[in-house]
Symmetry: C2
Subunit: 561 residues, 2 copies
């Protein structure tokens, strides 16, 4: 892979284009790519990464904006390929730095973004709605949008052309050949662009390790129908709140079985409202009911469509599994369908929900025991088709962890792309496309930016390291008041411990040791508060380690009277 | 499932047996079952549970010993079905309470346990080595041991008979029909016991949700051979340190390809030494080399067999992936094989290792892309065979989370066991076998016991809740010295925050607010330290929430002069 050391790139040649990923190459999330030509910047996507256990307490992780902080005025547009959080979730944070960046995307994508702006109280944004096949010029860039099929409607790939060459960015995609809405990934456009010449191909790597072909979305209908056929009670289906086609299938099966549908979960209600208003979701009349009316219907006449498929603790489904939902009370033999993926890292939460539902007597149907989910990303077989149709001069895998990017590069090589024309970049790697060749020319800082409560970028890795220590070991604080004139400890040590062995008496043996150590230091003439605190830290640290074999954070406070 | 409320069971009838699981029903781990008859207790297994992210900082979780704390003198024996940590890992902790409990197990199981005792400095234990088919009497219990096949050699099922009936406990097992060592699960014994009458069948549930049959261990040989055939450099194989047969296959393939083998990782070296000494592992002469000699051989002449297959941070493999191993330096095109399962909850750690190895240019072979692992547990198809061969009167699924236990019970019902004779118990559920019928008669406390550093059972759920808060939010401590006579704050507030926004100035706005609030309280006559601390807590809590939208732990300390 490209080196990890920072290295300032050289000035960009007039006849070159520069591509710098600021997120999404190394993680599944926070996708953002900056394309530069003639001093202008075009951004593709601006998403969030949801933190895992190595970033405790962090709400969101943003792309490495910092790299373009002093060049925001050069940005001529921000293309949003589709409406998923990992592609649009960070837009409000970028727009807080420059509100009038032109936003370019499909109708549904921009509609979902607008809902997000309401939460962030952002207004008066500049928008350009584009649709399948449309061409437009944005600054120095000629753009062409290509329909792609994904797990949300209205997703687009984008071709970016300048005199320096043509880049084709797939966005997130798969190649379902019988999609529910009939909107195929436009391989004819891919072919035409390939004929004209694609100099650099940026390709979704998520499923590059998965052999074969992604199962069509419509193939889950039989499993859903089977659930409805067998259930004599309530059916609850959890899925992603943006998966319009999945919800469409649940609606269709519900209607066919004479059931009403109720949405539960704020984002589900909101997104399905948007999708219906724009015509992406077809809802037959008299299908939907409100949650408050649910008790007016027999259990076998209702389907609940809810959020929480990843075991999110505060979600509707988790609360049902813990018998804590204010309205919905699960009964034995109710059926719960998790019509969703299991994102790595969420296993414990999801299995906790499944075990909770099982204890309540519910039947749980999930992708482990029925075909109730298919992926939204192209598998290896589909990626091979793409490479063979586009025949790109250079390839740069995007959207994946290191293992995915490497697997995707190997696929490109198998179709005949030379290994040295296959760029394994990471976040911050600067790649120049110059005279038909892409090559790594530098590396900029694309570090994580943490959203933590109301603060953005104020939490450092050091604070997270502290959280990890606190979360594993707890802390002990020791407060002592000393009189440097008499050389005595006049109050304390007051010892408070949390996340640690309980009971006030546990520290009785160490108190006199601390007093002795402090007074010895005072007798030696030590009167610096920091140094006296270090005396406490050392004494307590050693005692806790020797006695309890733990290494809590030690917080000494010395007050001089 | 059986209720979760505690309920004292009635006295046990003379012609009844009582079965109480104190661990392993609700988790994969800390397996322990107590069988009682005529006032005597026989224990089956005594293992640990490895904590996950909901038990931060905890080293190990023990079974609910507390339920038999005052009856340890009634224990006539402890049967260990096999040598895995989740079956033997808690024995030292139980023996610290009564060192002379007779330990009953196979040769390898007791040998591995003896190694564990050395670490715990336990001596003079009482042992009874048993072997396949052996019958013995232990107090009021007639025991018969039955060979079973599992992912460690020398595993046993146990039949426990008294005048009240016969219990058959499978331990952990699968039914590999072509095992490497030729030692089959003894279905003829299962059949004979079934003919004689099995009143209660305790059955491993781990893979009850998995349809079909577990692939034979020997079927991974081609994938290993393929790795050795293709590699022109070093090969590293990570697997569980107790998986003797897996290591045997690596050794066999290594020898066939003219490579030397080096063990890396303390538990790997120790266990393979024990297994070889006892004849369970066949090591051809001149095969093993020491790690210190590794540089004397060409990379293509060496195989490293190491620990760390679950991404454990301090393991040999994790350190190689981070380029931090003191001896072994991975090179591009080295091959790393993860010949192991991926235990739920470990995904992030394992993928972190795979991504690290990938970045170094290594080829990573794992169960996701090659057949380099098979499970140690019987799948649904095998369990059906068992039920049909044994034809038990009553069934109690063991060894699993709720979802596994329910799936296993469903399999029993499909073979004709009546639903009401299928007991869905949890840890602590008391089940009596009386006149051929098993039924739930009570529920005892089988709560987790946490090993935390040198302490056992001293860490409470409350302390863990504190750790979770600290780990997510950090803390703010505020120290103020007050003079109740003058009603003034004479020193402070000193504010220290960790795991939180950095910088001393962030708290400047709240300091005067705290002084004002404290002095107002003092003016109102409040002179109780606790109440003054509450004044600080409320003021700081509100300020942090309003300003930073966080909820750190707040630790106020008031010192009166």
């Amino acid at each position: 892979m490209a080196g990890t050391r920072l290295q300032t790139p050289p000035p960009l040649a007039r006849d070159a284009m520069r591509v710098t990923p600021l997120g999404g190459l190394g993680d599944i999330g926070r996708n953002m790519t900056v394309v530069e030509h003639h001093g202008q910047l075009l951004i593709v996507d601006c998403g969030v990464l949801f933190p895992e256990d190595d970033h405790p307490g962090v709400d969101l992780i943003l792309p490495g904006f910092g790299a373009i902080a002093d060049r925001l005025d050069d940005v001529v547009g921000l293309v949003l390929t589709h409406g998923h959080e990992d592609h649009i979730g960070a837009v409000p944070y970028l727009l807080k730095q420059r509100p009038d960046i032109p936003l370019i995307g499909s109708r549904l994508t921009l509609a979902l973004l607008r809902e997000k702006f309401k939460e962030h109280r952002l207004r008066n944004t500049v928008e350009l709605v584009v649709s399948d096949g449309e061409q437009t010029q944005v600054g120095a860039f000629d753009l062409e949008f290509v329909a792609v099929n994904h797990s949300i409607p209205d997703a687009l790939a984008v071709a970016i052309s300048t005199e320096a060459g043509r880049i084709l960015h797939t966005g997130d995609f798969k190649m379902d050949q019988l999609p529910l809405d009939g909107r195929l990934t436009d391989l004819r456009a891919f072919a035409r662009l390939g004929e004209a010449g694609v100099d650099l191909f940026l390709v979704d790597s998520t499923n590059a390790e998965v052999p074969g072909f992604t199962t069509p979305e419509r193939d889950i209908a039989p499993a859903l129908d089977r659930v409805f056929d067998r259930s004599k009670q309530r059916v609850i289906v959890a899925c992603f709140a943006s998966h319009v086609h999945r919800v469409q299938q649940v609606l269709d099966s519900a209607v066919a079985h004479g059931r009403k549908v109720v949405y539960v979960g704020r984002s589900m209600v909101r997104n399905m409202g948007v999708a219906r208003d724009l015509g992406y979701l077809k809802v037959p009349a008299n299908t939907l009911i409100e949650m408050r009316d649910i008790e007016k219907f027999q259990p076998q006449d209702v389907v609940i469509v809810c959020t929480g498929s990843q075991g999110e603790p505060m979600s509707a489904l988790s609360r049902m599994a813990a018998s804590e939902h204010p309205v919905i009370d699960l009964k034995p033999n109710d059926t719960v369908v998790l019509a969703s993926s299991l994102i790595p890292g969420n296993e414990n939460s999801v299995y906790r929900v499944i075990n909770g539902l099982t204890r309540l007597g519910a039947k749980v149907v999930h992708k482990g025991n029925a075909l109730v989910h298919v992926s939204g990303h192209a598998s290896a077989g589909e990626l091979l088709y793409c490479y063979n149709i586009v025949k790109p001069r250079n390839v740069m895998p995007v959207h994946g962890e290191a293992r995915h990017l490497v697997a995707n590069a190997d696929l490109a090589v198998q179709t005949g792309v030379p290994r040295k024309r296959t760029i394994l970049a990471e976040d911050g790697t600067v790649v120049d496309l110059h005279r038909g060749k892409a090559s790594v020319v530098g590396k900029v800082d694309a570090a994580y930016i943490f959203v933590d409560g109301a603060t953005v970028g104020d939490i450092s890795e050091a604070a997270l390291t502290d959280r990890r220590i606190l979360g594993e070991e707890g802390f002990v604080s020791i407060v002592a008041v000393v009189d440097t004139r008499t050389g005595k400890v006049v109050s304390g040590p007051d010892i408070h411990a949390r996340g640690f062995v309980e009971g006030d008496t546990v520290f009785d043996p160490v108190r006199p040791q601390i007093v002795t150590a402090l007074e010895a230091a005072l007798a030696d003439g030590t009167d610096d508060t920091y140094q006296l605190q270090q005396v406490i830290r050392r004494r307590m640290g050693r005692w806790v380690n020797d006695t309890l074999r733990r290494r809590p954070m030690i917080v000494p406070v010395v007050i001089q009277t």
